[in-house]
């Protein structure tokens, strides 16, 4: 495989270089769009927390900080492994890159698994705002706002995690198929960019929802 001979990034053909620039610029613009998407939820959060600070602090105690913290740890580690994965791809270390991408996916799945557990506990305890909402604390009406925001924000984040896992798995598959080479590493970089973004969103969600108590 002549192709898999490592070639430093600086020596890429002009066309390949342009391709990578084009794609990553496209991803950055898309992420700008995503920021506005999550921005709405954060805005709503600010408005309601400003209106009902005590209620938010109290309702926050009903979230599972332990699972939240473990999940934060999982995501931070996955950002690390995916970044190393990009690096390994660029250097042409295919096996290492495959391994790192696989670890990233596993960490992501672990996050979703724990999130699922957390959701089912909350639904059992009637903290889901629809239907049989039954909040033991004071001000259940306004706490409902908190839990609405909690489920929408973490739900949207989880949805992005699913997309991210699919994305990283796909580039992992392409790496395995040797379609991705040190010359053609753009998809890995894009997947990593997206992954980092989803991670950063969580970095904001976690303290705002879990730690305001």
């Amino acid at each position: 495989m002549a192709q898999s001979v490592a070639k430093p990034v600086e020596h890429l053909e002009l066309g390949e270089r342009e391709d990578i620039e084009l794609n990553s610029l496209g991803m950055w613009v898309y992420l700008a769009s995503e920021i506005m998407f999550f921005g709405v939820l954060f805005t709503a959060y600010i408005v309601y927390r400003h209106a009902y600070p005590q209620v938010f602090a109290e309702a926050s105690k009903f979230l599972d900080t332990r699972i939240g913290s473990i999940n934060t740890l999982l995501l931070l580690s996955s950002s690390f492994t995916v970044a190393l994965g990009v690096n390994a791809t660029q250097r042409g270390e295919r096996r290492l890159s495959l391994m790192l991408l696989a670890i990233t996916v596993i960490l992501g799945l672990g996050f979703l698994g724990l999130k699922f557990l957390e959701y089912s506990h909350e639904i059992e305890n009637n903290l889901f705002p629809g239907g049989s909402f039954n909040y033991p604390g004071t001000n259940p009406d306004q706490a409902k706002l908190f839990f609405s925001l909690y489920f929408v924000m973490t739900g949207m984040h989880a949805l992005h995690m699913v997309v991210g896992i699919a994305f990283v798995s796909t580039v992992g598959f392409l790496t395995w198929q040797q379609w991705i080479t040190p010359q053609r590493y753009a998809p890995v970089e894009l997947a990593a960019l997206f992954w980092h973004f989803v991670d950063i969103v969580w970095i904001f969600i976690f303290p705002l929802l879990y730690l305001v108590a």
């Binding site: 084009l22 209106a51 239907g131 925001l149 929408v152």
Partner: protein, 536 residues
């Protein structure tokens, strides 16, 4: 003559293949533009029929034709379809898609497959909206105000929201594609200061598409979640704030007005320069004005809530910021006028549309200053004055620009000339019909007729009859181009490569262009709008 006969058989993007597959799986930006043109026209007809029905209903003060509930659904469908399935995609997705690569000397957009995907997403969203229409309609108004939309309405709100939500991704991807294309795909020598102003206008538009559309998506999504799962964050019975919805909605929907008008301004800039045979006056200012409108447009949304319980301080700030938009808008109008001054003006159909645009945009823009003033807005808020104001911008200006652009580039798009006499007739009909429809509404609104009611006091009837009569003329004016443009596809005289002796790169390739746009990527050595243009 023989060279023209030869042209007919020259290989171009239309005649390389005639199969349905070659159209539905095309990644050629020109073909995708045609796909958009067909679908957007169909939506326009649908939205127009709804408008015709409620205009007929408004002939009399009582309800004769439809019940009030049906009336509510008619204006809602009219709004939803015209805003998201006609106005937003019209100029960018059709003319922008077709022309941006040609104007900057590229072979295609940066992401051709994403471009095709955008069209499919658009159609999927359209399908949901269509389902909403046939399963009983939506009665919330296109603004989906809470808590009516989230709690009380019994109509197909969720289907309509899903439709708009999905279509939003088409907007985002189109905007993204344009931004990257304009940054990265310009031909050698095509510097930023040589870009046609049409491209600058689309660049500004794309920024809004990318940054505002997601806000609408999640905001409407929250209504759908409230209706389906009971996750409500706008529900006032739990301390939620319905005005927050209005803020978020208008954070998108006010910039959305600039999505509709900025590309129109781009079209008009091209037309005025070409038919005045002069370089556009103050190129840099016109380009900067597009960006200024896009940026300031993000800061004015609060002027929709002057009477919705916004604080007086916020009202004053939003009012002031809204006045600011008038500055770049006026810069454009004055620069168009200055371009025509001492120009060698010819009044072909596109120019008639462009002049109509300036006229209507000026009226729409100046009445915008009325509604941006706090005290006057209290009087005219939610009346026909507002309806007339935004129709002068969104229909008067944007549709005039769209049709002007379609006529101007029709020779390039189809390779045929449209019949000039019919073209002028339609342009005049539309201008007259439009003014007759909407000018009386300024008076109606000022006299206090509220919008969105099926009935009205009898003293308003004369003006309403005038408005409906104007709408019929307008409808005739819109149907005419549809007929003669289709006719011209077969019977129109063959167009030369540059029938208007215009200066842009798009006129240097053949009409219609070959699939790869240019035989050789052009090397740009001239400034935009260099006249006279040497004919080759």
């Amino acid at each position: 003559m023989s060279s023209i006969a030869l042209e007919r058989y020259r290989r171009n993007y239309l005649n390389i293949s005639y199969t349905a597959r070659s159209w539905l799986l095309t990644t050629d930006h020109k073909r995708i533009a045609i796909l958009y043109m067909i679908s957007v026209t169909l939506f326009f007809v649908l939205g127009g029929i709804a408008a015709m029905m409620f205009r007929l209903e408004l002939l009399t003060p009582e309800t004769n034709l439809v019940r009030p509930e049906t009336y509510n659904k008619l204006f809602t469908i009219h709004g939803i379809i015209m805003v998201w399935f006609f106005l937003i995609p019209s100029i960018p997705s059709i003319l922008g898609n077709f022309l941006i690569p040609l104007m900057i000397g590229a072979r295609d957009l940066a992401f051709p497959r994403l471009n095709l995907a955008s069209w499919y997403i658009f159609m999927l969203g359209g399908l949901f909206t269509f389902i909403a229409v046939i399963t009983g309609g939506v009665d919330t108004g296109w603004t989906f105000y809470t808590p009516y939309s989230s709690i009380y309405s019994n109509s197909a709100v969720v289907a309509a929201i899903v439709g708009v939500f999905v279509t939003g991704f088409s907007s985002i991807f189109t905007g993204l594609n344009f931004i990257i294309t304009i940054h990265k795909k310009r031909a050698p020598g095509m510097t930023w200061s040589r870009l046609p102003l049409f491209v600058w206008a689309h660049y500004a538009t794309s920024l809004i598409l990318v940054l505002a559309t997601p806000v609408l998506a999640i905001t409407l999504g929250l209504i759908a979640l409230e209706r389906v799962f009971g996750i409500g964050i706008f529900d006032p019975t739990r301390g939620g704030d319905p005005v927050l919805f209005e803020h978020l909605f208008w954070f998108y929907s006010h910039p959305a007005v600039y999505i509709m008008i900025l590309p129109g301004m781009g079209v008009v800039t091209e037309i005025i320069s070409t038919f005045s045979r002069r370089r556009i006056f103050g190129y840099t200012f016109v380009a900067a004005a597009s960006l200024a409108i896009a940026v300031i447009g993000f800061l004015v949304w609060g002027h929709h809530m002057f009477v919705a319980g916004e604080s007086a301080y916020a009202g004053a700030v939003f009012s002031g910021l809204s006045f600011l938009v008038a500055i770049p808008s006026a810069v454009k109008v004055f620069n168009w006028t200055a371009t025509m001054y001492k120009g060698d003006i010819s009044f072909d159909t596109p120019m008639l549309y462009a002049l109509g645009f300036i006229w209507l945009f000026t009226i729409g823009g100046l009445t915008g200053l009325f509604v941006a003033s706090l005290a006057i807005d209290v009087h005219v808020h939610d009346t026909y004055f507002v309806v007339a104001h935004f129709h002068y911008i969104m229909v008067g200006s944007a549709v005039m620009a769209y049709l002007g652009g379609i006529h101007y580039w029709w020779p390039k798009i189809s390779g045929r000339m449209y019949p000039e006499g019919w073209g002028k007739t339609a342009a005049l009909l539309i201008f007259m019909g439009f003014n007759l429809t909407f000018f009386p509404q300024f008076i109606l609104g000022y006299l206090g007729m509220p919008r969105r009611y099926a009935t009205y006091p009898p003293e308003f009837q004369v003006l309403n009859v005038m408005s409906t009569a104007g709408a019929s003329i307008l409808a005739a004016g819109y149907i005419l181009p549809l007929l003669y443009l289709l006719w011209s596809l077969v019977n129109g005289p063959l167009a030369s490569d540059n029938p208007w002796k215009a200066s842009g790169l798009e006129w240097q390739t053949s009409s219609p262009p070959p699939p790869e746009n240019f035989g050789k990527i052009p090397q740009v050595t001239f400034e935009a709008y260099t006249f006279p243009v040497e004919q080759n």
